[in-house]
Symmetry: C2
């Protein structure tokens, strides 16, 4: 039986559950792994605040407000759950310098600090996918040429989009997500794709050895999705999901990378479309392994703490000497204008004869060919706008943009045309 | 860079792919894990036979027909892929005695040899789920109180059942499975549930620490499923899948275990129903982790070899000292007659007034209440049989059996009634 001393930095929601579950699972971990894991110290800002997780009260005597006491407790592993950039990075570096292994779920540090990210003694499965072991699976279970990883990595946006499928609009769905605790009071980082962008950048670095920053990738939020889009996507056989994608693309004979976060139409019978509510998921595609699909709880104190505890166990049992290496980003990332895709287009037009011909003409002149068109209902007067929905064949994103620019100059087209990519 | 010497016992389909992929991935594994993996010797019965995997020819000089040469090659890890019970067990024990770690996919040895199964230096992720890291996920990623694991662990039966959903009958589907290489020339161990039973016994031992043998558990094959069942299950909102299940059940205040393999009705919108073709999948349910779902390729040289290579890497990097411990089986397993479930029932009856009343009476007298009934079409003459489909509310399996025995004695009931469990 080996004794493992743990110190924890930060004791918010996830931190509380880590402490509770390490206590509850202590005998289980002794039996299964011959490890006796002891929580020695917890760094907090306020020692007086009461911290309770499912009735378990965090013992007051473990709390400290001084990082020096963390070090003095001689931890084998420090679990960093503060989540900011500057303090966390300082603490993590200090620990690593002293030979202490680090477990963290800190997306900011992992995205922006190469040294910490590359350090083999840093374990961060919980930073992506909450309770789903996406990172551990990539690292430990798929020694293969992975050519794509696509995920639903943000539970808030997935909850909203799947609730909108039940006929609600964006705002109602967001309010419910807040009420149920699936959205933060300020949910902008979730809604606009920032959270998922950080996660897909972490996965890209792991899978492709390419260091991409969140601000370098295409990132689109979901606030422009309407009930109309959800309904008409369904008529075409699709669901709308906010996906985070990182995949190899052959572009003019060279191997490039698409890394992006955007709402896309996914086939209704595909695994990603079946991800409902605030769940997360990932599809890992490898040359030999085929498609591996993982789905589960992407957030929450209990599931996330289990990922962290799994990291603590792995850190205790594993000896790693290798460093992950990165390439420069700029010669790999492909600009989205140069990506080939099928597209979904929504236009608002005046309902009179010849409108479709004019639109089709703009599409044709820009090398975009139309696969199907849907127009439902009509205005009460001839001048009232009606929506037209179009699915295109595969074309360059640059070309659909040009076609839609041209359409928006037509006097029969009433609003800025809206488009979404179709995931294939 | 650490050098790791490998020897392989057996060079059938999976073995060939292990050798090919270890060669192809050698640099990848050097970079990612600082391990230089060398295949030193391969034990075969016939050295002259040509062995080729995707154009890669297994080098003749690696082959030997003598186990002593395997030992003489000083392997750090031996990969056992012979797959029988007696020879494999002898070789594996010999390796372990000499301090050589073992990677194996041998379900027979794992199911019947406790010593080998419990040895911490035996790695066997590939024995269940082919390319899906089900075992590695349970061991390394879910340190939680798991209360259920349910899987689709046999690709042959899943292929047949999902092909039957397209309107084919059992025999046609089986023939196609053979033609596509998804079924063995003699597929009985797949069709009758033996293969899945071995796998769920391995998972039960890992998850619940209970040693259960395949012959001790309920095991039902799929050969009695008809197109009618598939179609009417769909009308009720279900798909039929052959599931392997191991879960805790509270029975009269005691914690018992259900371990079984049977075709069941699963809700059409559930993840298991979405598993099509020869894919495999597993749902892992834990107190804290919630539901974790994994899906992927459950067989085939390439996917399975990746699991084996992941085990080789793990065996090279990990130091394990703990032993898995088992409890006796008999005080844990619950007899299926004592299980509560909803049931699907198919009866063949004479189509005349009062039939349903008689059936309902037999059900009622045995504490089985009916949720819904479907009867479609009718005989051309009044004496021609028609099928009746029934979904029950929850009841004891013992009671549905008694009800159906009583029904089968009614003169209006023409064949032995057929029932399936509904998975919830």
């Amino acid at each position: 039986m080996r004794s493992v001393n743990i110190a924890i930095l930060g004791c918010g929601n996830v931190g509380k559950y880590v402490v509770k579950n390490l206590f509850e699972l202590r005998n289980f971990i002794k039996e299964k792994f011959s490890l006796d894991i002891n929580v020695k110290k917890i760094l907090v800002r306020d020692k007086q605040k009461e911290r309770i997780a499912e009735g378990f009260k965090i013992p007051q005597h473990l709390l400290t407000t001084h990082f020096s006491e963390i070090i003095d407790s001689s931890p084998d592993i420090v679990v960093e759950l503060i989540g900011d950039l500057e303090n966390s990075r300082t603490y993590i570096r200090e620990c690593l310098n002293r030979g202490i292994k680090v477990v963290t779920a800190n997306k900011l540090v992992l995205t922006f600090d190469d040294e910490i990210f590359q350090n083999p003694n840093v374990f961060f499965d919980a930073s992506v996918g909450g309770g789903i072991p996406i990172i551990r699976t990539i690292i430990n279970s798929v020694p293969d040429d992975i050519y794509e990883i696509t995920g639903i990595l943000n539970g808030t946006t997935n909850f909203i989009l799947s609730y909108m499928e039940e006929g609600k609009d964006f705002q109602e769905s967001l309010e419910l997500a807040k009420k149920l605790g699936y959205a933060e009071p300020d949910p902008s980082f979730d809604i606009n794709g920032t959270d998922a962008a950080q996660k897909i950048c972490i996965l890209s670095a792991l899978v492709f050895g390419v260091r991409v920053r969140p601000n370098e990738i295409l990132k689109e939020g979901i606030s422009f999705i309407t009930k109309l889009d959800i309904d008409f996507a369904r008529e075409f056989g699709y669901s709308i999901r906010s996906i985070a994608i990182s995949r190899k693309k052959n572009y003019e004979g060279e191997e490039k990378l698409e890394v992006a976060v955007y709402p896309a139409l996914v086939p209704s019978d595909s695994p990603l479309a079946q991800v409902k509510g605030n769940l997360n998921a990932a599809v890992i595609k490898g040359k030999r392994i085929g498609e591996l699909f993982l789905k589960g709880e992407g957030a929450g104190g209990n599931p996330t703490s289990i990922s962290i505890i799994a990291d603590i166990i792995e850190a205790s049992l594993t000896y790693r000497e290798s460093k992950k290496e990165f390439l420069a980003p700029n010669d790999k990332l492909i600009h989205h204008d140069m990506m080939v895709s099928k597209f979904y287009v929504r236009l608002s037009v005046v309902d009179n004869p010849g409108v479709l011909a004019k639109i089709a003409d703009s599409f044709g002149k820009n090398n975009v060919s139309i696969e199907s068109v849907l127009q439902k209902g009509r205005g009460i007067t001839i001048s009232e706008p009606v929506p037209i929905f179009i699915i295109t064949h595969e074309c360059l994103e640059r070309d659909i943009k040009r076609a839609l620019e041209e359409c928006s100059r037509l006097d029969v087209v009433l609003q800025t045309p809206f488009y979404l990519r179709i995931y294939q």
